[in-house]
């Protein structure tokens, strides 16, 4: 009787102990799975942070270099502009100063007047000169030379009002409605963009 009771109680305790082991083992397995899953997920998050940082780092590096390139290019363009500006200023001065050298200027003035009359297509044009030219230019000779260049007799009327220009002429119709401005200043300004291109080609081969 005694040994049967003892065996029975031993069985009860053995089953309970086994069940307890299972409960703990199950909890451990469950936490192990959760831990493994968490590790994978955390690792993915960390990898994403590093991956994004690599992309950011590349962009930061590219930006630094790109800014340096842009800054250098800008500086180069500014220095080139300065040189081209100087060249243009000197060229303009040379053109305007040419009005003081009559041997060069008078034939040029003749061609300016001739070309303006040709564009105007007017038989009795009104020619405007600056104050200096109004006194120093022999108008009869100029009219003759212009007619020769046009290969056509022409009657020029000379304006009594001087124009504000370093040289050259303004030729207008008698009613003043049509005007061809062939002053040295205007010609230079009109050609400025073309001259800048030529200066760039000549100075920098661009």
């Amino acid at each position: 009787m005694m040994s049967e009771t003892s065996k029975f109680t031993e069985d009860i305790l053995r089953v309970a102990t086994e069940k307890a082991r299972n409960i703990i083992a199950e909890a451990e397995a469950e936490t192990q799975r959760a831990s493994d899953e968490a590790k994978t997920s955390i690792s993915r998050e960390a990898e994403a942070i590093i991956r994004n940082a690599r992309a950011d780092a590349e962009a930061v590096k590219r930006r630094e270099i790109s800014e340096a390139r842009h800054k250098s290019k800008l500086r180069e363009e500014q220095e080139k502009d300065t040189v081209m500006g100087e060249v243009l200023t000197h060229a303009k001065k040379r053109v305007l100063d040419m009005a003081e050298d009559e041997t060069k200027y008078l034939p040029y003035l003749t061609s300016l007047v001739e070309s303006a009359i040709r564009h105007l297509g007017n038989e009795t044009p009104l020619v405007h000169l600056n104050k200096v030219d109004m006194t120093r230019v022999n108008r009869t000779n100029l009219e003759r030379d212009v007619a020769k260049a046009l290969q056509n007799p022409i009657k020029i009327e000379w304006s009594k009002e001087p124009i504000a220009a370093a040289g050259g002429a303004i030729v207008s119709s008698r009613d003043g409605k049509t005007r061809i401005v062939n002053t040295l200043d205007e010609r230079f300004d009109a050609l400025e963009s073309k001259l800048l291109i030529e200066a760039g080609k000549s100075l920098f081969g661009q």
Binding site: I12, K61, R75, S115
Partner: protein, 107 residues
């Protein structure tokens, strides 16, 4: 042993078994509770390390970029100086050319 004594022994064994299981369940609950904070700590630690590494990567790239940029600017400055020096030798000829263009351009 009387029948009563036998029943008492069995009841005690049942009580002991219930206690064993109760203790095991408490231990299991403790294990489950512990894993949550363990995971949270591990996450915080791992991500902090990753963020630190990420910041270092960006900082290193920025420094590298600045170094390369400084090198580029230095080289570009030399090239610009040479370009301007070469252009300066062509100034007079260019002025002549521009004056010629103004004079010869179809009026």
């Amino acid at each position: 042993m009387s029948g009563i004594e036998t029943v008492k022994i069995i009841v005690d064994a049942e009580k002991q078994a219930a206690k064993i299981i109760q203790d095991a369940e408490a231990t299991a609950a403790g294990i489950r509770r512990k894993i949550d904070s363990l995971i949270q700590n591990q996450r915080t630690e791992t991500l902090a390390t990753a963020k630190k590494e990420a910041a270092l990567l960006v900082q290193q790239a920025e420094e590298e970029g600045k170094r390369e940029a400084a090198g580029y600017e230095k080289e570009a400055a030399v090239n610009t100086r040479e370009l301007i020096a070469r252009a300066s030798t062509k100034k007079s000829a260019t002025i002549e050319k521009l004056v010629g263009l103004v004079m010869e351009e179809k009026k």
